[in-house]
């Protein structure tokens, strides 16, 4: 089932897999899904903020993309094209969702385990700073949270964000800039309050 991963010792390119999938090879498309499922799911999660909705949106996006493969432009980049379709599926679910959970920090230890262990005091301070930043993000309006999340937590570039949001690149750039300015303002206020308290 993994025969599409390599040919002559190298992984198949997206274009090769797409060509095979267009010809009806499901295993080729399965490999494409495997390549992008983490990013697609993370992007969908940032839009819908619900694990099950994100799973359904990502899967729906992959199925829709498969149906649309015949219209995929040869030579184009598959990743932003796919992300746009997944994001459309997620946005449709987001619109009908009754509520969305706030973004939260992962419980447990610092995932950067390769670094030298910080002192208990430094670790506590870093955790407090992260919690404050998380609170500041969650206090922003949803549009601002989404654009910041896509940029920094899905690590999308401006062009990909434009695809995901269905907006011109310039519009996305200015939206991100304004969202960052509002975040900076809220964060400074929160940190002033904490230092005063």
């Amino acid at each position: 089932m993994y025969g599409w991963q390599e040919v002559e010792g190298r992984p198949l390119t997206d274009a090769e897999l797409i060509e095979a999938a267009r010809g009806g090879d499901v295993s080729a498309y399965e490999e494409l899904v495997r390549r992008y499922q983490d990013l697609a799911y993370r992007t969908a999660f940032l839009v819908v903020r619900d694990a099950e909705e994100a799973r359904d949106a990502a899967q729906e996006g992959f199925l829709s993309a498969h149906r649309a493969l015949g219209r995929f432009r040869v030579g184009a980049d598959f990743r932003p094209w796919l992300l746009r379709i997944v994001a459309n599926a997620a946005r449709n679910r987001r619109r009908s969702a009754t509520r969305r959970a706030a973004l939260a920090l992962r419980a447990g230890r610092d995932p950067a385990s390769g670094d030298a262990a910080p002192s208990p005091e430094a670790a506590l301070l870093a955790a407090e700073q992260r919690a404050t930043l998380m609170a500041a993000i969650n206090s922003l309006r949803e549009d601002d949270q989404l654009v910041i999340g896509l940029r920094w937590f899905a690590e999308l570039g401006e062009a990909e964000m434009a695809e995901v949001l269905g907006r011109p690149r310039g519009t996305v750039k200015s939206r991100l800039s304004r969202a960052m300015a509002r975040l900076r303002e809220v964060l400074e206020r929160l940190e002033e309050d904490l230092s005063d308290g």
Binding site: V26, V33, Y41, R55, Q59, E60, Q129, M180
Partner: protein
């Protein structure tokens, strides 16, 4: 993500990313592949339970097919759009360019500035600029109709005075629902535009109206005579009418780009 030009806030956000609680991605590849094999009539490779992907869409399509033969007028929803099936005869109406129901004629630039959504125009080379532009309000946010005369690949048909018509309006506003009346004999094909659910309504007469917040029909004058592709994107419902085929309609739909400023 490493970038020597990151601001302090950007560095904090980049660092925070590793701590964000995003659940691990489920094994989508096998689930998608099994679904595709099932649709193709092939035996699934193995067993991941299929979640409710596309449930609403599937139900809508099933309902569409069933309702075509319904005796009474019954509706289903597609975003802010409702498809209504009505077996009764409708009086004939004149063609679009003579109809006041599509609003005031204006320019593309004025239309772009006056509506409450991002107006988009087709970028397929055969169409070029629209010959006529109309704006109408209500609905809240406005509706824009772009009318194209005959073009290569978009000839005038005997029963209409245009090559192609593209209409856009806000349709995610609950207070106002656009509705589409469809006569018996209409064929509906489920398709997609950039992966979004879309419907190709072909082969019969249908016309278009909307309701106000009280449910009253306030305008039934807009007659549409061409085969129509309908989909909703970013809260805006789009209709492409008069394309010679579904493929041509999708090509127009997927070519849409924000209307450039004329300034």
């Amino acid at each position: 993500m490493a970038d020597q030009h990151l601001s302090p806030l950007e560095m904090r956000l980049a660092e925070l990313s590793a701590f964000i609680d995003v659940p691990a991605a489920p094994p989508l590849a096998s689930a998608v592949a099994d679904r595709l094999r099932a649709e193709a009539g092939l035996r699934p490779s193995w067993r991941w339970p299929l979640p409710s992907v596309g449930r609403g869409t599937a139900l809508a399509v099933a309902a569409t097919l069933l309702l075509v033969s319904a005796v009474a007028a019954i509706g289903i929803a597609l975003g802010g759009l409702r498809l209504i099936f009505n077996p009764e005869s409708l009086p004939p109406l004149p063609s679009i360019p003579n109809q006041p129901g599509i609003g005031q004629q204006t320019t593309l630039d004025a239309a772009r500035s006056s509506v409450g959504f991002v107006l988009r125009v087709p970028t397929v080379s055969a169409l070029g600029e629209p010959d006529q532009v109309y704006v109408m309000e209500p609905p809240a946010g406005g509706a824009v109709t772009l009318v194209y005369g005959a073009r290569p690949g978009y000839p005038l048909q005997p029963d209409r005075m245009y090559g192609l018509v593209l209409t856009q309006f806000r349709a995610d506003i609950q207070a106002e629902n656009f509705e589409k009346l469809i006569m018996e004999g209409v064929r509906i094909t489920h398709t997609n535009v950039h992966g979004l659910p879309a419907y190709w309504v072909a082969g019969g007469e249908h016309f278009f109206f909307y309701r106000d917040a009280t449910g009253q029909i306030v305008n039934t004058t807009l007659r549409l005579v061409g085969d129509t592709l309908i989909w909703e994107e970013d809260g805006v419902t789009h209709r492409v009418e008069g394309a010679p085929s579904l493929q041509a309609a999708i090509a127009v739909a997927e070519s849409l780009e924000p209307a450039p400023s004329g300034e």
